[in-house]
């Protein structure tokens, strides 16, 4: 019997770096699969791709993919990525981050990356807590949720990542989940295609920490939550006011054409040369 190896394998450091560190039921591996399929669809050469990350569960992803990979300090993935992209604009730069990494410690960097509209794709895996350190609350932990640092429930309001990024000026903003994988593949592909700063929020379960602390069940039950509590933009259109209040909307929220930082810098160099003449 012959075994057909899925094409995704050629993008993995399959022989060297597995098994991975993620817990059973974790959603990060699914996001990694979506990224790889989108990369394949783009036809990018592995040599021309840079994946940067910060610190945390999601940020361990670069170890497993066979690109130029940069695992940086907590929250700084986009700042490192900005340097990479500026020094060599031919490289396709993506940043993979968790919710805590990108929005708490890295909050300043992500809003400025969006404002500059630098040509980087940011993929935020949102599992509502800090998984690697044992399930503390993050800027996306829902109200009243229990975590190891909110034993009496979360009292801080959370961020809506997509609204934040829209306001900060990103060219492309979308949300998907690891349950709706085909949809996520397409969203990430569109984000890669977009020139300028693109953000994809991928909702993912963390059964080990967030799920257990809030008695949400195991991996299967948590997947079901993603299915039941999210709707796409066309479903939203046909719903009556109030009907969608407890639902999270998936889909593409921002898709606008604005000049990327890279292009503006190139124009600046030309302008400077002109002024000196």
């Amino acid at each position: 019997m012959s075994i057909t190896i899925p094409y995704e394998y050629k993008y993995l450091r399959a022989k060297k770096r597995f098994p991975h560190v993620w817990c059973p039921g974790c959603g990060i591996g699914i996001v990694m699969g979506s990224i790889i399929r989108a990369v394949d669809a783009m036809g990018w050469k592995k040599d021309d791709i840079v994946m940067v990350s910060g610190i945390g569960c999601t940020s361990r992803m670069p170890v497993y993919v066979d690109f130029n990979t940069l695992h940086t300090t907590h929250g700084r993935g986009l700042a490192f990525g900005t340097g990479v992209k500026m020094a060599n604009p031919k490289l396709n730069v993506m940043a993979v981050m968790g919710d805590g990494d990108s929005l708490a410690i890295g909050g300043n960097h992500i809003i400025h990356a969006a404002r500059r509209n630098i040509d980087i794709t940011a993929i935020i895996v949102n599992n509502n807590n800090y998984g690697m350190t044992g399930g503390q609350f993050s800027p996306t932990t829902p109200p009243d949720a229990k975590t190891s640092t909110t034993p009496y429930g979360m009292i801080e309001p959370g961020f809506d990542v997509c609204k934040l990024m829209d306001g900060a000026g990103a060219s492309f903003v979308a949300r998907g989940t690891v349950y709706h994988v085909t949809e996520l593949d397409n969203i990430i592909l569109k984000a890669f295609m977009k020139k300028g700063f693109s953000v994809v929020e991928a909702l993912a379960p963390c059964p080990t920490n967030f799920g257990r602390a809030n008695r949400l069940g195991g991996p299967v039950e948590m997947m079901k939550l993603l299915k039941d509590y999210t709707i796409n933009t066309s479903q939203l259109k046909v719903m009556k006011p109030g009907q969608a209040d407890d639902k999270i909307v998936r889909g593409i929220f921002v898709d606008r054409d604005s000049i990327s930082y890279d292009d503006r810098y190139r124009a600046l160099c030309e302008k400077a040369a002109e002024a000196e003449k």
Partner: protein, 380 residues
């Protein structure tokens, strides 16, 4: 032509740093405004786009040094300029650059501290922060210029050393040096030695990002050059992947240390005047060294002989030379624009019979030659 090769100009210290960076082939600058270093960023913002080089003002100093490391990994010589408070924020990135062995240059024009301190005034308060500011054992190279010409020369040397040793190099002018203006005779371009970015020549499948070469430093490939590798601040093996295996952890940490300690000859840079014939020696660096030279001249008129020992490279500290030259002296006077930092290193390298005497000034002003003369007269 931005660098006035072969010409004579009146130049500011910070300006000379910017020109030195251009001369060394800077490809990327990322910074955040801070007094008293801003002229460096401002001038490079004007020069670099003319040369099609990349310049960016980031959202803070942490982002700046992070972007620098990314820039160098993608193949551009990278530098930033800051001062004490910004340098504190950069410690995270400095540690990362040490650990991942990415060559970058960090200019810290030292002002009064701690905290916001004296933003427009001089100090030498970051000498120990430069050595031990980031956590964990790590290699450090730091250079302290004493005049405008050296701002130009040592910036180039900082780039050269960072490429040679694959490690961040810190340039530590104090505010006096950064803001003073002097006549500088610029060298001819062909007389300036610039180390190009080393590139690996091995086949892709043989490439090890941290090859254990005899010199403890191996050429670093750039992203996009066909050598794909992993970079992490986690302790890693020679391919760059995280490891906790004892032998690999020890090998990494030892190599980080030895790449500096086994090549001290290339790093040590001291200036000595009349040290051998004097029983009293002034140990000074940066702007204080200038006052020490003036004090030496005043004392000479009074028929008193004092020596001057000046480290140009502050870190690694010139242990051997200090021991050899100062261990038999009666008195070593250490004037510093702080409450005593490098003096502990001098004490460490001299026996108890040597009187190591401090002279501090912490009000943001220079130590004058007269103050040094008075201090010498007291101990002679």
């Amino acid at each position: 032509m931005i660098v006035p090769w072969g010409e004579t100009r009146l130049v500011q210290g910070n300006e000379a740093v910017a020109l030195g960076a251009i001369a060394a082939g800077i490809g990327f600058f990322a910074g955040y405004p801070i007094t008293p270093s801003t002229e460096i960023a401002e001038l490079l913002a004007r020069y670099m786009p003319l040369l099609n080089k990349k310049w960016i003002q980031m959202e803070d100093e942490i982002a700046s040094i992070s972007a620098l490391i990314g820039g160098r990994l993608a193949g551009s010589k990278s530098m930033t300029a800051t001062s004490g408070p910004g340098f504190s924020l950069m410690q995270e990135g400095l540690g990362y650059a040490c650990m991942t062995e990415v060559p970058i240059v960090v200019v810290n024009v030292m002002r009064g501290g701690p905290s916001t301190g004296l933003p427009t005034q001089a100090a030498q308060g970051d000498v120990m922060q430069a050595r031990w500011g980031t956590h964990g054992d790590h290699p450090v190279i730091a250079l302290a210029p004493c005049n405008v010409k050296e701002c130009f020369e040592l910036t180039i040397r900082a780039f050269n050393l960072s490429e040679t040793f694959r490690t961040p190099v810190i340039l530590l002018p104090d505010e006096i040096i950064g803001h003073m203006r002097e006549r500088v005779v610029f060298p001819l371009k062909e007389d300036v030695h610039v180390v190009p970015m080393p590139v690996p020549d091995v086949p892709v499948e043989w490439y090890e990002h941290y090859h254990e070469s005899t010199l403890n430093v191996s050429p670093m490939a750039s992203f996009g050059s066909g050598y794909r590798y992993h970079v992490t601040g986690l302790t890693h093996d020679k391919d760059g992947f995280p490891t906790r295996k004892e032998n690999e952890v020890i090998a990494k940490m030892e190599r980080l240390k030895h790449k500096i300690t086994r090549r001290l000859d290339e790093l040590e840079d001291v200036e000595m005047h009349n040290v051998e014939e004097s029983s009293v020696v002034i140990f000074a660096y940066g702007s204080v060294y200038r006052s020490a030279l003036a004090a030496q001249a005043i004392l000479k008129k009074r028929r008193k002989t004092v020596g001057i020992f000046r480290p140009v490279t502050l870190w690694p500290f010139p242990d051997r030379t200090v021991k050899e030259m100062l261990d038999s002296k009666d008195v070593v006077l250490v004037p510093e624009l702080n409450q005593g930092q490098i003096i502990h290193e001098v004490e460490r390298m001299t026996r108890d019979s040597v009187r190591v005497v401090p002279l501090h000034r912490i009000d943001g002003y220079e130590i004058t030659p007269e103050e040094i003369v008075d201090a010498v007269m007291e101990v002679i």
